[in-house]
Symmetry: C2
Amino acid sequence: MARVAFDELASAMERALLRLGFSAPRAAACARLFAEASLDGVYTHGFERFPRFASYVAAGWVRPEAEPVLELSLGALERWDGRLGPGNLNAAAMTDRAMALARSSGIGCVGLRNTNHWMRGGSYGLRAAEAGCALVAWTNTTPNMPAWGAKSACAGNNPLVVALPRPGGHLVLDMAMSQFSYGKLEAYRDRGEELPVEGGFDAAGLPSKDPAAILASRRPMPVGFWKGSGLSLLLDLAAALVSGGDSVQGIGEREAEYGLSQVFIALDLGRLPDPDGMRARVEAFVDYLQAAEPERQGGRIYYPGERSALTRAQNLEMGIPVEDRTWAEVRALAGD
Amino acid sequence: MARVAFDELASAMERALLRLGFSAPRAAACARLFAEASLDGVYTHGFERFPRFASYVAAGWVRPEAEPVLELSLGALERWDGRLGPGNLNAAAMTDRAMALARSSGIGCVGLRNTNHWMRGGSYGLRAAEAGCALVAWTNTTPNMPAWGAKSACAGNNPLVVALPRPGGHLVLDMAMSQFSYGKLEAYRDRGEELPVEGGFDAAGLPSKDPAAILASRRPMPVGFWKGSGLSLLLDLAAALVSGGDSVQGIGEREAEYGLSQVFIALDLGRLPDPDGMRARVEAFVDYLQAAEPERQGGRIYYPGERSALTRAQNLEMGIPVEDRTWAEVRALAGD
């Protein structure tokens, strides 16, 4: 494990992307989104994922220069074709588009089909919050989680992002519908740790805290058991219907996870009056939350997005922790 | 426990509402929404809850004849003041309003402040689906669930509704952010049953399947532990900011649970073309889902809304099960 400065990390990925056929501005923007995910502590969907992303470009599943095209406009609701462009660039562009619609109509919605893994969903929540907008966005995935009552993975973990701007620190929630991502399960296994709560089922079908057993069975637990399973199904089908793209079912018929469907809903909160001082109360919300009695003496209650902000500050100062193997791979991709 | 026909149940509540000061059409509509919740098996938020609703009317916290008024329009986003009208009538009206906005802009959003408990959230999901629209809606509540890491109830369980129309049976998810509602916990306790999964914490702060212990501690478990806790906080603050109304914090300062904030987002799916036959695939979705290998041999995988539809058919035929005590209370309220 090394610690690498943000700029150095972003620069290595940018050079790799140029070699993969990205134009200069797109290479810079794409690398920055990867580096920011790691900066904020979402290592599994940042730099550490980059070699896999590069392999998808090489395979033709991610097309470096493809940009989304508008297919349909109904005023505040638009449908775009992502043309298999890079998932993070597509998602950033569609977040901006949903916000542009919200500027004129209060709310704006984009359905995006035929796109790719957006990597860290929280990136788009932060992006909207920085611009004073609320964001509700979600993506579908390849089948990677059993629906409640099923043994085989027929549902996606379909991450959902909800974000609100707050001057003292944006509120950003980025949650997959499985209790733990595969990346998190692998990290627990590699550290030889048990999960803090039951995170899936073992080969015998029993709830388990053993990350290796869950990785072997491919049966992660949905968030809230039957509830997260239901939400996963609805988010998937809503993304497919709104975007006109594939559902988890269709994505599962491909050789790899590409051609996803996503929804971006932005609300322009800046245009809403604030007669009762609600914004000040949201600003003071952290005080309210942290004034609650903690479960454990001396314990701290975090708001969604707080840990990421703390990690960001630390990683900016100390450098971003990266796996030696990944660092070597990316430097090779960059031609160093 | 008696079984009472839908019309008889609705009629008793309608007569009670007339005596409580409701005009005839509003009494009929309000009673119907209560009766439909019980018809679909959501007993805790239907007929069984009616006496408590009546007591809120008597206390002045619910105003029978108050209708929402428009406060602000930004095109596809509107803000309404619910004026403490009956929560289910207000929510039905705002669902219709969000759909009207969606008819002209593709998507429509209503923020509703100063309203009341909407009872069964799924009612509005079904209502939108019947009209060919998707609905995403949520409400906040009084503080009734500890945020993750907290001992005291500082968060709401803030139910979320997501619905999609489907000719073969609408997909409707209605989920509170606690794993079990208080009503469900009471039902398990009264039947002397253990919860199927850990549903909260006991007095010692340990995860528990004992409904009585959780009812005593007032510490229900958030859906997905830290994840549902985070989603609860975001839904609450989003409802407050969009509607300009109170957050869970403000509601907790009142003597009872009234003056809530809600959001209704509708999408007019009927105006979206269907080039790749996605609608047919959503229609066939149940086949896909139920073709997955079940966890238990002979087990059935349900889609969100399926159990309600099955219960509805059964209750239409056999009558709706009602507690004898509630039936007596409502008949007294009706002046029988």
